[in-house]
């Protein structure tokens, strides 16, 4: 469908990756030389995380999360009046939108939001709702906008952590911060925080295809706010993976809290 509001190039284009046989051939090996594909040693190793709150001057609250190469920016606006007057309710509402930048993946994405982005937006909403005190802003709506600048795996968990940090930075009352973590089940190994190539590992022949589970966790309250899994594995492997995710979330919690404290200190110094 021609997009009349944007400058369009030629109608049909192909990605150069379509013509590269090495790129299309996915590997089934998760480990090489005892290390994971991106150099991490253990299965349970999370990539180095960098978080920063309060970087967008125009937004009420904002945050930036970087999981090695995966980069996510989140802005929070509100609470403001509900868009549709018929949606009056004594509880506040949150509306989430996740968008991948066109240059965030190897193959260029379109500007229009596609099915996968809508799915991630719903998952993000599911993860944030239990943590926010919705009755603190009745008849109002808070908008959460997430842009993924670069996707190297675990985009959803980065988005969830980033969004909850932005909500806290905006001063929206919350019961607890939501920290998220993804785990990829491949054969018998559980890879925590998979990179893009690990997310797309080919099935080892003869074994179950494995799957991917994302867990949104509130560490102080020890409650799960979001659980999202697809694949084909046994229930005990799945339980093990969620347990690993929980443990990683506990570790990440400290980093998130420190970032928040630092940004509050900075705000107080500036004013």
């Amino acid at each position: 469908m021609p997009d009349t509001r944007r400058i369009t190039g030629p109608e049909e284009t192909q990605s150069p990756f379509a013509f590269c046989p090495q790129f299309l051939a996915q590997s089934a090996e998760a480990f090489s030389d005892g290390k994971r594909r991106d150099g991490r040693k253990a299965e349970a190793d999370h990539r180095p995380v960098f978080l920063k709150a309060g970087l967008i001057s125009q937004a009420k609250g904002s945050a930036f999360a970087e999981l090695d190469k995966t980069k996510v920016v989140c802005a929070v606006y509100g609470p403001h009046e509900v868009a549709r007057r018929e949606d009056f309710s004594m509880q506040g509402q949150i509306s989430c939108e996740v968008k991948f930048a066109p240059f965030s993946c190897r193959v260029r994405r379109q500007h229009v939001q596609d099915g996968r982005e809508k799915d991630l937006s719903t998952q993000l909403l599911e993860a944030l709702e239990p943590a926010v005190r919705l009755d603190s802003f009745p008849k109002s709506q808070v908008d959460v906008f997430v842009t993924v600048l670069e996707n190297d795996g675990s985009a959803l968990s980065a988005a969830i952590t980033c969004a909850s940090l932005a909500l806290a930075d905006a001063g929206i009352e919350m019961y607890d911060l939501v920290v998220a973590c993804t785990a990829r089940i491949h054969g018998t190994s559980i890879l925590v925080d998979p990179s893009f190539s690990e997310e797309n590992l080919k099935t080892v022949s003869g074994e179950k295809p494995g799957g991917q589970v994302t867990l949104g966790f509130m560490p102080s309250l020890r409650q799960v706010s979001a659980l999202c899994y697809h694949g084909d594995t046994d229930l005990d492997v799945l339980s093990q993976a969620t347990q690993r995710c929980q443990d990683t979330c506990h570790k990440l919690y400290q980093v998130v809290q420190d970032t928040l404290v630092k940004s509050v200190e900075q705000r107080m110094n500036n004013s």
Partner: protein, 291 residues
Amino acid sequence: MVDVNLSEAEKTFIVHGIQDNFREDGRSNEEYRQMDLETGLMSNTSGSARLRLANTEILVGVKAELEEPKPEKPDVGRLEFFVDCSANAAPEFEGRGGEELATEMMNLLYRAYSASTVLDVSSLCLQSGKLCWVLYVDVLLLECGGNLFDAASIAVKAALFNTKIPSVKVRQEEGEETELEVSDDPYDVRRLDVSAAPTVLTLSKIGHNHIVDASQKEEACCLARLMMAVTASGSVTATVKEGRGSLDPDSITEMMQVGKRVGKAVNEKLLETLKEEEQKGLKRKTVGFLR
């Protein structure tokens, strides 16, 4: 989900009943309501099924079309899901009101059928990179009576079981165009092996307990639910947590165990019923829908 307005007293009544494993309609926490299933109702489709779960009515039609496979996966066919929440089911679904619910259902179905072991999609490919079968599964929601996701997934599995794909032979001579030979015999069809296909099981958390197959009133009391796609062999192909409340990690493990057990039983019973219905052949009485 479509919400019913309940007073606090009614909610307390339901919660207390569930605590004692005794629900409003006399069921136990792990019991399903009466289900009516019929397949092969619509002649224009390759496969169809109608499911009535107490007050919920779902109609599924499967159409098989020949198309080009996706460039990243040139050797496999695929399934495309589409859910339509008709305004018949609830007044909120008028116009674009039912879109949110429909998108959620579609996403869950895509997730559940995403694993390669669920359905043999490589057999749907006729010519690598050029021609494959694409199965368009259209789900129509006719009436809302609670527990829509479960009913939809059971109906989808039944419709896929009922799907008859015509046998097509591909002939390609040197330098000439590909020729497709469709068999003249209407009974020369291919069936799909749905023994590994999953059905969704929704476990709603009410108070400290969890129930299976919530009615509309029970859904209104529930703050969080866990939807699991379980196959007949007991493996879980998708799990999504939904709702404004949060869940305890221990209760999630418990719920998944219950889900696996009940899901297996549902799948077995479903396959049994489908085979029974198939065997009756032309002798069976068709009931039709919206009775």
